[in-house]
């Protein structure tokens, strides 16, 4: 599929029909909504079938799923770097690097014309993020239109868009082998737990996503639109001592307040002996991924974002 013949709002961007779509679950083996949905659909795919569309549900990290851990050797969702994808070493390579190469063969190669059109990567978070779509490029009109469609179809329930285009904080995800990678992050849900409300929400947003692709493939034109996104700015770590141990926790006023404004001077962390540490930034930010379990080891208590409105040109099948 081409990148679209024009990014000009006045012109309609043409994309080839999206014929090959994958749904990834278990990229983190203890994020249960995706694991469960993909297992269900591998047994019976009736619910996800759409005419003229090949939709492949796929468990990306089966060893991690079996052990119900995030990863075995290394985080699969950080493993799709060019260096890893071209590494030699076969069985000697960390398990997830081998998996990344396998996934790149099956669904990529990343960056090539043969790559899958769309990959949905299903994730859960312990953060109170609700339903979040993760966008990797502000210039992907197809993805922007899809996310606009999903948000409107899901309303009045909320589905927000997180844009991670930050040159340093952006990472090489499993979905990045596709031409149009879409992250779906639903929380809060503890690792290893399956909650029915979270499960159903993910099922529904995925249904809307597949409906969009179907409509697009049938020739529907989607007029120009704007999409509100939250753009990743900065990673904020816990305060730590000289040995790297955390010395404070996310403050009760910030805990569970994903997407709400954090103003300069607002409480941000609370030390174990009860003192507050305040946000020292110069302007209001919108924090998210607040207190995600998996990020303690990645030195992240939360990320800050700013609100932006992105414009997407009209799109239509070529």
């Amino acid at each position: 599929m081409s990148n679209g013949s024009s990014n000009n709002n006045n012109n309609t961007a043409r994309f080839d029909a999206a014929r090959r779509v994958a749904i990834f679950g278990g990229t983190h083996g203890n994020e249960m909504s995706g694991v469960t949905l993909v297992n269900l659909w591998m047994q019976n795919s009736a619910e996800i079938q759409r005419k003229g569309l090949e939709i492949k549900p796929f468990l990306t990290n089966p060893k991690a799923v079996e052990k119900c851990v995030r990863y075995v050797d290394t985080d699969l969702n950080r493993a799709f770097t060019q260096e890893n994808l071209s590494a030699t070493g076969g069985d000697e390579l960390p398990y997830e690097v081998q998996r990344a190469q396998e996934i790149n063969r099956m669904f990529g190669p990343k960056g090539s014309a043969e790559a899958y059109d769309v990959i949905f990567d299903l994730h859960n978070t312990t953060s109170n993020m609700g339903c979040t779509l993760i966008l990797e490029s502000s210039k992907d009109a197809f993805n922007l239109q899809m996310m606009n469609y999903i948000k409107k179809a899901f309303a009045p329930a909320s589905c927000l868009v997180l844009l991670n285009e930050h040159p340093l904080l952006k990472y090489s995800t499993s979905r990045s082998v596709a031409k149009h990678p879409v992250g779906m992050e639903v929380g809060p849900q503890p690792q290893g737990v399956l909650r029915s409300n979270i499960f159903e929400a993910m099922r529904v947003i995925l249904k809307h996503a597949l409906d969009f692709i179907s409509l697009f493939n049938e020739g529907m034109e989607f007029p120009p639109c704007t999409v509100e996104v939250f753009r990743v700015l900065e990673r904020m770590d816990y305060p730590r001592d000289a040995n790297g141990n955390i010395i404070a926790m996310v403050h009760p006023n910030l805990q569970d307040c994903d997407w709400e404004p954090l103003n300069p001077g607002d409480p941000m962390f609370q030390t174990f002996d009860g003192k507050s540490i305040h946000y020292q930034g110069s302007s209001t930010v919108y924090p998210t991924f607040i207190n995600e379990a998996a990020y303690y080891e990645k030195q992240q208590a939360f990320v800050t974002t700013r609100r932006e409105t992105l414009a997407a040109s009209a799109i239509r099948k070529a």
Binding site: P190, L194, S196, M249, P252, D273
Partner: protein, 317 residues
């Protein structure tokens, strides 16, 4: 001590002193409140509460370092008499060895040398608020529970009793002469919530306060406690391959301790059917506790029983 006429019907009991208390965290390595409470108490050198000496122990440091519940076997199932006396070989799981070490350090279980009071800190993914979990109906435990119930207002406080004889009691707190677990949720494994940390810290401060008052001769009024007594557990419905075919129904999810009656929905299958509870009215708890999937438990069920306990004060030799 004044003999109050209106309480003269209640027996007054004199109880041996509590000289020491041991607070344990990290028995499950991914239940973080206990880990950080213990570390903070060690940093603050919390070694005495009045005349009561205070010890803190991180009980499963390997599991804590790995961010896992356990490395080879659930440590909090290793304290039965059988496991505590089993011979150690090369194939003995780490946690069995660790349990025997802890028993030597804090016990031996059932002996006069055991610590007077052992409190083990836990978290659950279930919406259980703060729970005291104990085996036997013990006046010290019930009084401390009552004191916390009366003074802690930020979360619901409840008591859970497991009717298991001491020899078969499998968890760490059974090692102390008196012991109970403080279980607080909901908190995801691997997450440290400040609100939960603050509640547990408050509960421990109240416990130490009570112990100091008790040790200094204060008399505590008797009363009653409504405790949830474990009856049975319910597993997920499974297919012939042993895979769960349903999720906890949204009406039951997060409704720990809300009375369950016949006809109430408990599971929702992946194909959308609702499965209903059939049986006597009971109280569910540990609803959708992450660690219990592998133990084949979707939730536990309990009866509520009222226990009375007497006035107590410390027995002076």
């Amino acid at each position: 001590m004044v003999d109050r006429a209106e309480n003269s019907q209640m027996q007054r009991t004199f109880v041996p002193p509590i000289y020491n208390v041991t607070i344990c965290g990290g028995t499950h390595g991914n239940e973080l409140t206990g880990v950080y409470i213990v570390r903070e108490m060690q940093k603050q050198k919390m070694e005495k509460a009045g005349s009561v000496s205070v010890t803190t122990v991180e009980t499963n440091p390997r599991a804590v370092a790995a961010g896992r519940r356990y490395t080879e076997m659930d440590l909090n199932r290793c304290f039965t008499d059988v496991l505590l006396s089993s011979p150690i070989t090369e194939s003995t799981p780490y946690e069995v060895k660790r349990a025997q070490e802890l028993n030597a350090q804090l016990g031996p279980k059932g002996s006069a040398k055991a610590v007077d009071l052992l409190i083990d800190l836990h978290n659950t993914t279930s919406n259980m608020g703060l729970c005291f979990i104990f085996y036997s109906i013990d006046w010290i435990t019930l009084h401390i529970y009552k004191y916390i119930e009366n003074n802690l207002n930020s979360v619901p406080v409840r008591a859970i009793q497991l009717d298991i004889p001491s020899s078969e009691a499998y968890s760490l707190e059974s090692v102390g002469k008196h012991g109970f677990a403080i279980e607080v949720g909901p908190q995801p494994s691997g997450v440290l919530r400040a609100d939960i940390f603050n509640v547990v810290k408050e509960a421990l401060d109240l416990t130490l306060q009570w112990l100091q008052k008790f040790s200094s001769g204060h008399s505590f009024e008797g009363g009653t406690v409504d405790a949830y007594t474990f009856v049975k557990s319910v597993d997920y419905p499974r297919d012939s391959a042993g895979k769960a075919t349903a999720i906890i129904h949204q009406d039951l999810q997060d409704n720990d301790f809300k009375l369950l009656r016949s006809g109430d929905p408990i599971f929702q299958t992946f194909s959308g059917d609702i499965l209903k509870y059939e049986g006597e009215d009971l109280y569910p708890f540990f609803v959708n506790e992450c660690a219990y999937y592998e133990k084949k438990i979707a939730f536990h069920l309990a009866q509520k029983k009222t226990y009375s306990f007497p006035h107590i004060s410390v027995k002076n030799d």
